[in-house]
Structure formats: C-alpha cells, structure tokens
Symmetry: D2
Subunit: 268 residues, 4 copies
C-alpha cells in the first residue's frame, strides 16, 4: 500500500509577506508536496485556515505520515488538535517537523522540553552545510556527504530537546554556529523526524537533496507495521504464572483512570 | 549546600481508605520523608490539599529536587502548576516520579507519551524482584544485586515511555511480568527518575533498600551545577565569524515568539 | 535483490553430545536455516570445521547478513576471521549473534565489553517468557505480546554490554531472573542484533515465534542501502570554505596511519 | 579520597619534531598534568618509553582515571597492555582519550568500530569553535557557551563511533566541517570521555577552558562508587524462586569458559 502523506502548513506568510509569496508562489506546503511528487508520493496539502484547521479526525485517521511546517501561529492550533496528533503519533503515525516547527505545540508536546535554540535571520541568509553523520541511515540514502544550502537561516545549539534516538545530520553555519539539524525520536509506536532547514524566504524546499531527504524521511517514519498492540493502560488481573496472586476486585477510580488514559485501546 | 527536597503527594488515600491509613499512619509522603531523613536530608512535605496545591512558585523556586507521588487525582492538578514544574525541571530542578505518578500530568508532560503500561493489583500483592542492571550507577550505590519486595503491585511492560537515557533497574514479578522499573531521563537541564515500586497498601517506602535508592536518586537528580546558561530562545544577530552576514532587523512576531517561549532567560 | 544470509555455527555439540544430536538431528545451524526457509530465505550454512573455518573472505564479501551461533569453541576462531567479520559489519553487513555467542570473539570485539552475564543451566530447563518491549519495532512484527519458551537456559542480568541502541525484548525466567534478551546495536554502517534464547539442548529454534523473530531480524539488520561512503580515515586537505587554511604537506606517518586503518575506502 | 590520575602519552613527537619540542617543552603529558595541577590534582605522568610502556599492572590498579594521548605509535602498545586497560575500564577505571587517541588500540577496543574520521592538518592550523551542547552536564561546569581555539587541526565527521551515551560538545571548523568532539561512553562500570582538540603543534593544553574541561572530565569519569559487584560470568545454579528448576551439574567446558572470561570476579 502506498504511504498516505499529509503536508500541513500555516500558509499565512505566503499571503502576508510579499517576499515569501515571490519565493514560494506555490506556497511552502505546495513546494514540499511537489518535492514528494518527484519521488512518487501523492500528498494531501492542508493549511491552518482550512476547515477544522486542516486537521480533521478523519484526515488524521487516514494519514500515515504527517509533515508539519508552522512558524508564527503555533498558538492558534487548538488543544483538541494537538491532543489528536499526539495520540496518532503514539498510535503509529509518522511525523516530520520542519524548521520553525521546533516550537509547534505538537512537537513540544512530544518532546516534553522547551525546544528552544539559538537563531539568526541574516537579511540575505548565510551558508549552511548539512553534514551526514550516519551515512548508512535510511534517511541518508543517496544523500552526499554534505549538502550546501547557500542561503539559510541559522538555527543553532544549544537546542533543548531530549537526546535524539538517532542523530542523522549536523549543520555547520557560515556565521560560526552548529546544530543537530536532523534528529529522529521514537514516541509510542510513532517515529518523529525533526529537520531544521527550510526558512520561508529561501527556496530550500526546491533543493534536490532536501527533497530526497524528505522523501527518505517519509518512508522511514512510516509505521513499519500495525500489528501487535497499541500502548495500553492494560489491566492483566490474571497472572501468567499458575498459583501467583490474582486480582479479584476492580476499584472504580481504576475504571476512571482507564477511561482517562484509555485512548490507546488494544488491537486484536 | 545541602539539597532542598520537597516531597509532594496526594495524601488522599490515607484519609479515604482505612487500609492505607493503617499501612501509612504517617502518610505516604511522611514515610518517604522519613526515609530521606535516615540519609540526612531535611525534606519539606506538601500535599494536593495544601494551599496552592502545595506547589507555590516560591516553594518550587527553592526546591532542588521534587519527589512526586500521585494516583487517583492527577487531573486535579492545575495547568499552571504543571507548567511551573515543567519549567523548573527544564531549568535544572530534579524530579523523582514514584509508582502511579507515571500518569501524573507533570510526568506525561515531560515524556510526551501516554506513559501507559500493564498492571495487576492482586489483593495481597505479589513478589517483585528489582534487578540492578547498572551496578556502577550512582543510584545503585550500596544497593544489592537485587531487592525483593514480598508484596507489590505489578506494573509491567509494555511501558509507553521514550527510551530512557539511563536504565538502572528492571523488575521481575511473581505473576510472570517484567518492567523497566528504574529509569533516568534528561529534560532540559533537569534529570528525572521514574521508580515503579510504591503501592499505597504495602509498606514499600519503609524498605531499607528502597529508602537508599531514593536517597541516591535525590543526590543524582540534583542539578550538577547552575552555571552556563539556561536553554533559551536565544537571538544571536551578530555572527561569530567576521564577514558573515548579520541580522539587522527584528520582526515583531519574533519578539512575540520570544516572549511566548522566553521563559528560559539566559543566566549570568 | 534477495538478502544473502549465511548461518554460521560451531556444529560440534551435535557430534559430541548425544542429547544435542537427538534434539537437533539437522544440527543447530540447520534448524536456524530451516526457520529462515519458512520465511522465504535461502541461507548458506557454514561451520567451524569447514574450510577456512567457514568464513572465507569471498563468502563474507557476498553475505548481507551473518547469523552466528557459537558456544564452547569461541577461542578457536582465528584473529584474521574476527578482523574480517568486524570489518564487514562496519562496512554494512548485518550480524545476528545468538545465545552463547555473547562470548563470541566477534561479538565481544564489536561491543568492547566483557559481555558477561549470569546463567543457570537447569537440567530440564526452566520457563522463559520473552516480553516485547517495543511492539512497533520491525523485529516485533507479528510477534505476540510475549512468547513462552517452556524449557530454556537462564541468561540473566547484569549483562555487560554497552546500552543497546534499541531494546526490543526483555525476558522473565521461572527462577526469578530477568534479561535484556533482544538488543540492537549500530556499529559503523552495520546493524547487530543479539538474541538470548537458543540453548543447544532445547528445540527453541523450531519455535514458530522464534523463527519469525529471526526472519524479522534478518530483514532489519540487512543494510538499508550501500550508497554514500564507508567510514574512512579520510584526508580532506582542501577546506570547503574559501580562504580557510589548506593542508599542503602530508607526513609519512600519516600515510602509514592511512594504510593502517584505511580498510574502509570511500565508495563513489 | 582524592582521585588518582595517570597521564599517559607517547612523548615521542617532542623529541623527534623540533616544532613540537618548542610548543611543548614540558612535553604534551606535562602540559596536561600542569593543567590538572591548576585544579588541585596530583597526576602521575607516564610515557610509551617508560618501563613496561608506562602501564604496569600495579600502576593501573592504583589509577582511578587514565588520560591517554597517542598518535603515531599506537601499534607499539602491547596486546597485554591493551587487555589490561580494557579490563580496568570495565572494572570501573575512568578513561579520557585525547585527540589522535581516537585510533589508540585501547580506545578502538572499547568502541568496537574503526573510529575513523576526516581530518585536515593545515600548516598553521584553523579556527575551531567548540560548542557546549549540554550546558548542564558536569563536564560543562564553568565552561562558556563556546570555546574558540584559534589554531587547531580539523577532525571531522563522519566519525565512526557507536552513538555516544552522552554528547557534550560539537565543534565547528573554519574550513567548513563539524565534529562530535566531546563524547561520553559507558563501558562496563567505566566511563570513557573522548575529547578531540589537542594537536601536538598547537598549545591547546594550555588553554584555560580546555584545562577546565579536562579537570571536569576527570571528576566525571571517576567511578561513582566501587560497591556492588563487577560484571561477572556469574553462575547462579540455585534459582531464586522456590520450586524452580535447579542446576545440579557443571560441565567442564563451562568451567573453562568461566576461567576464560572470569577476569571480573564478584566483589563482596
């Protein structure tokens, strides 16, 4: 089955800021989608101003990999949507958080940290060189030892994230900074990839290598399989060992607790 | 300087449930505090029903290590308190989450996952054997190869947490289950220790080994040093390299963003 | 392209020990190979007593995934073969180390630790219950929450390995012990999977779940791609930044060093 | 008790190469030792040309932290010495591997990989900026956000090491490269710190920040405690659970195996 990809983006800068409109007439989400089409995907594009903020339960239920680009309007995303995306990731949906999505509520929710870092938006950008730290990683397939981005916004250390489960790329900046710019995190059954490049005023999402990285990332964060079970608040009153003590009574608060966090119901 | 420890606990079961009152006449928080006193600490004890839910900004500002025991009333803890504890952990405060605090909002916030697991509360408890996986770890100092808890509640895998940065203990249960029962996580500048044993109806917090583990954990999660900087949304408009592009203009939304996530202001 | 699997095993117990011969008339390596055939692989089987110890350079050069079962005769494996296997793993060959291969020289070489653990070989075996810690992991595909092995040898903690990059299974034993029994390690471009079950006197390699786990593991440790470069002692005398200092002279000892560790030459 | 530090270095360049002799008249090992004296340590200095290559069993038995600087003569270090250092690290001795010690046999033995990386020795050095990734880490105490080294040798990615257990520093280079330049690894009971800066022709070991980093690292890799047990090939014939199967007979080969890898005997 082909991977069902949804590209979500604020899509406000394109309207508000002439420069962005000129750089991305197809919108940022459109440019990301075009790159994925080059690699055979048929992404769905949604924006903050779409119905249900472009994040309906049915769309998310039918999304294998969600790509997220947000910047200025993180706070407008409803709690309910943040909860829903988190649940889906824990349940196995892949998430790719791009550039300023480091401060997206869904990303911060999954990290548990401030996700702060240092930054410098020089007027015409500065050179970024993206180094491949793990050449054998699936996300690095057909990616050269390093990728040069002639004009980029500096996003630099210290980056307040939990230690990544897999560190794939580290960036060098002309101005003298470094960044863990390609990081994989595992949350529940889901895989999350944070990728730093992608400022709205530079055509980074048209770069052939960046497009390949994103296509590789989509394949990588797509859930390997949906079998087994979800992570459950799972009552096992009957012990597996004969003669071991059983649980005979269930207390109401338990039931309440079960309802409370029972989102991840066991799959058969 | 001695470590300032605050023991927070719901302290409701002790009043609501006769058995708990008999097992812990000094309250659960009191028993934890007594154990720490055995090791030379002078903990402060607070409960959910204290003023400001026992979590005032001034208390947290003067707490080096916060110990958290909660179970049925996680949802009563105010958003503002959850935010505050998270900020303090990112800023360097140590946190020890005990037993059913796996579903405490502060713990789930820091993990980013459901923190669900399997469980069995057999009427008289079942035997748990806590294995020390990393004998050289500071939290394992003077802890024997394994600790037997004759009556415990089963908390078992699968446990929906991010991979721990350090796995110190793994538990065996009489009923046939296993658990990653002693896990260290790093979040921002803070260290978090989750420790599974500690059901309200068994006197586990009087066990000499458990008391030593908690005392070791307090020393370990205490911030190693407060120097350097906090993790900051940190503007660095002037590049470090001569001739590299500068940033000359700050956009308002940036300022807003800075305020929004600017909690962690640079120190020194 | 189908994955080229080589199953290497000592194949001495089968001849020396009547019980083992009765349990595994097809030999242990043969049983492992049969399990892989059930899943569509066409493994090659080699033994310690084959020509070149069953580890010729040409065979290894044409092996994508090497499965290793050894026990009593680890010390007979030649240095040259240990070097060769290590080089191939660093170059991208997958390795699956089974049961007592924890003390195989190739495994210890890749871990850098003693790989010691606790053990108990009860006369008729004891029950082992293998818990799936990461239900969404590719190696756990179609594997139930736990697998019961009625007769197994206890291999228990503390297990002296570096912290696994991925912990997939943890075992419970009837006798009261636990074990990190399914661990993934990344070394160079290669993936290594250690799987604890598989004592020579019990028909564990005929278990349908164990066979599935090994088939999943073969797919998982198989190199995702061979592109990019190998990890190289890589001279880059010309800086990437204009005006940055160049290296003009190469010192002999450098060249020697290059030869010395230059095994991993860059691929185009 | 104060930490017993041994600084081991080849100490050949100083005699062979006039420039090195001028930069480090006190020898490289001497400069490292002087830095530690600034921080209150009383290090012992040993060299490759000392009796027993400066690595006698008695010295190592009385060393809490071993600092290693080697470059051209890695291959001269005897197998027996490599074995001994590895055993001591597994047993709890701290190890700090400096600069070109990435190819020291003891370091490669503990990593299990080639430890290759890219390098450029520009004639007069190039600027390196060492970024502190984990400001709260004990090794970063009193270390500024970044340390500038005006003249350094480029050691760059890809660096063939297992994923570090803790990544403390990442370096930026004038020539356009990056490096994970400060990495902590846990091996057995021992902690290992690799620190990249320190070329023989630049006075880096006189830098006040580098000296502080090394002093912090000595404190950090020093074994937290020596209690509990060593990682042992540990027979537990008697199960911990009543009625569980016992082991009644020990097979000779087992005994042999025990001797073979029985170096780490249990401590009381």
């Amino acid at each position: 089955m082909s991977i069902r990809v949804t590209v979500w983006n604020e899509c406000r800068h394109e309207k508000e800021d002439e420069i962005v409109g000129l750089v991305y007439p197809e919108t940022i989400g459109g440019a990301i989608a075009d790159g994925l089409k080059d690699h055979g995907f048929r992404p769905t594009v949604r924006t903050l101003d779409d119905e249900e903020q472009g994040l309906s339960a049915s769309l998310l239920a039918n999304t294998d990999v969600l790509i997220w680009w947000g910047h200025r309007y993180h706070d407008e995303v409803d709690d309910e949507k943040v909860d829903l995306v988190q649940e889906r990731v824990i349940g196995g949906m892949g998430l790719i958080a791009l550039h300023s999505a480091h401060h997206a509520r869904v990303f911060k929710r999954l990290m548990g940290t401030s996700c702060n870092f240092a930054w410098r938006e020089s007027d015409d950008g500065e050179r970024e060189r993206l180094w491949t730290i793990q050449p054998g990683h699936p996300i690095a397939e057909s990616v050269p030892p390093y990728v040069e981005l002639p004009k980029s916004e500096m996003y630099g250390e210290p980056f307040d994230i939990p230690a990544p489960d897999e560190l794939v790329f580290v960036s060098w900046y002309e101005g003298g900074d470094v960044m863990r710019s390609g990081c994989v995190f595992h949350r529940g059954r889901g895989r999350v990839f944070y990728f730093a490049p992608g400022h709205e005023t530079f055509p980074i999402y048209r770069d052939v290598h960046v497009r390949r990285i994103l296509a590789n990332a989509v394949r990588y964060v797509n859930q390997p399989h949906a079998g087994g079970w979800r992570y459950d608040h799972w009552a096992r009153p009957i012990p597996l060992e004969q003669g071991a003590p059983k649980q005979t009574l269930f207390k109401k608060p338990r039931a309440a607790a079960r309802r409370r966090s029972g989102r991840n119901s066991r799959t058969s």
